[in-house]
Symmetry: C2
Amino acid sequence: MNYKTPKCSCEQCQLKNLFFSHVSEDELFDICDIKEERTYTKGQRILNEGDPIDDFLYMKEGLVKLSKSSGEQKDQIISFSKPFDFVSLLSVFSSKVHMYSVTALEDSTVCVLDLNVVKNKAQENAMFTMDMMVRISEATDKIIIENLIIRRKQLKGRVAHVLLYFANYIYERDEFELPISRREIAEYIGMTTENVIRTLSEFRKDNIIKIFGKDILIVDKSRLESISEFG
Amino acid sequence: MNYKTPKCSCEQCQLKNLFFSHVSEDELFDICDIKEERTYTKGQRILNEGDPIDDFLYMKEGLVKLSKSSGEQKDQIISFSKPFDFVSLLSVFSSKVHMYSVTALEDSTVCVLDLNVVKNKAQENAMFTMDMMVRISEATDKIIIENLIIRRKQLKGRVAHVLLYFANYIYERDEFELPISRREIAEYIGMTTENVIRTLSEFRKDNIIKIFGKDILIVDKSRLESISEFG
DNA sequence: CGCGGCTTTGATGTTCATCAAGTAAAGTGG
DNA sequence: CCACTTTACTTGATGAACATCAAAGCCGCG
């Protein structure tokens, strides 16, 4: 399913400056040498909750969801991540096993480093560690704040918020294909699937959005923003 | 209000091993030299949302809440922290201003270091930085997971969960004085004050707990645990 | 003493989950 | 490729969970 590409050139990687700006060329070569790139197709599980943490991952391309299962058939979605938002990051230095599952929502490419190598590097190169720490802080802060925002809205506000989240933050356009099912929206905002659907239908009837299956077109954005804020 | 004690001896601090196990005695002396200890009384604000981040704080004693205001009079409580759970930690390396307010719920002692000194230390001493990163990860992971747990319960389960949280995690006994008001419980679990009170009264009527103002005695713990899990 | 904040209870209405039932879409095996 | 099964989606009806409004008692504090 997922295949390993031959070593690619880290020198030209966009992410190089993000994580390795304080890693010398020599050191980078070491890291690069053990690096593996994996691609996942839409729907594939990248990490499983409970699996041991052996690797250090970061996203190069695509979109994923972080989720946690809570009893049979009940999932909670914690966040969505795109490149530059980290992935394996959250519990990587504080736990032996992954606390969340990670699933590809779009075809995704992930860079995989042996965690021990990264840890060793981190123990010698303080600037590298600092850079990572900043990334970790940013990623987790984002999750915490997003959760607070969602929690203080009610149904309509939450659905509006999610639509705007994908439009503004993920796709940067007002017409897009929802990468997730209605049920997943529900799992993210903590409501039921039926009510998510009802709300979307209502937005459609009120000419705020147009819906063609998974395709969404935001027609009246200011109205949607107002619902997100006050509704 | 809060007073600065003369430099205390870091050598004997319980927290030394936690944060500074990889800092040499010499380096520790540098840090110790610029350290300030501040005490806050119950109710005092330690940090204000929006204030610039100049210091690096960690708790020595007491109990605090992290909160975020969302419009007039509407606060959301993010988490409670006791010593060994970090404090100024969350956004300290990823933002210029504090994203949350921190308030003492009990008389608290906080150790204050100049952030630049800590950053400099972190940039030279990778092991120190690693230790910090692990702490940060643990603290934020805890917040995220606790939030997920609360979110999948409803009113009674959430109130039961909070009582057990204080009994098991904060005070480690089944009789304790609630360090927060009913309103703050509501702000933490995302329900209204009235419903928190109603639920507590109901627990009292069902002989699950006894209430004397802020004093709580858990009478039927297994029942409370069952409500927390299934209710 | 009186004011404001915290607590409590009840009555009422809104929001939302649940149940039910049906359609559409998508994957599965012959 | 078609029948079959499953999964996603949709709408309506009902009741449960919860917020809101109102009123009153309590307590600490100036």
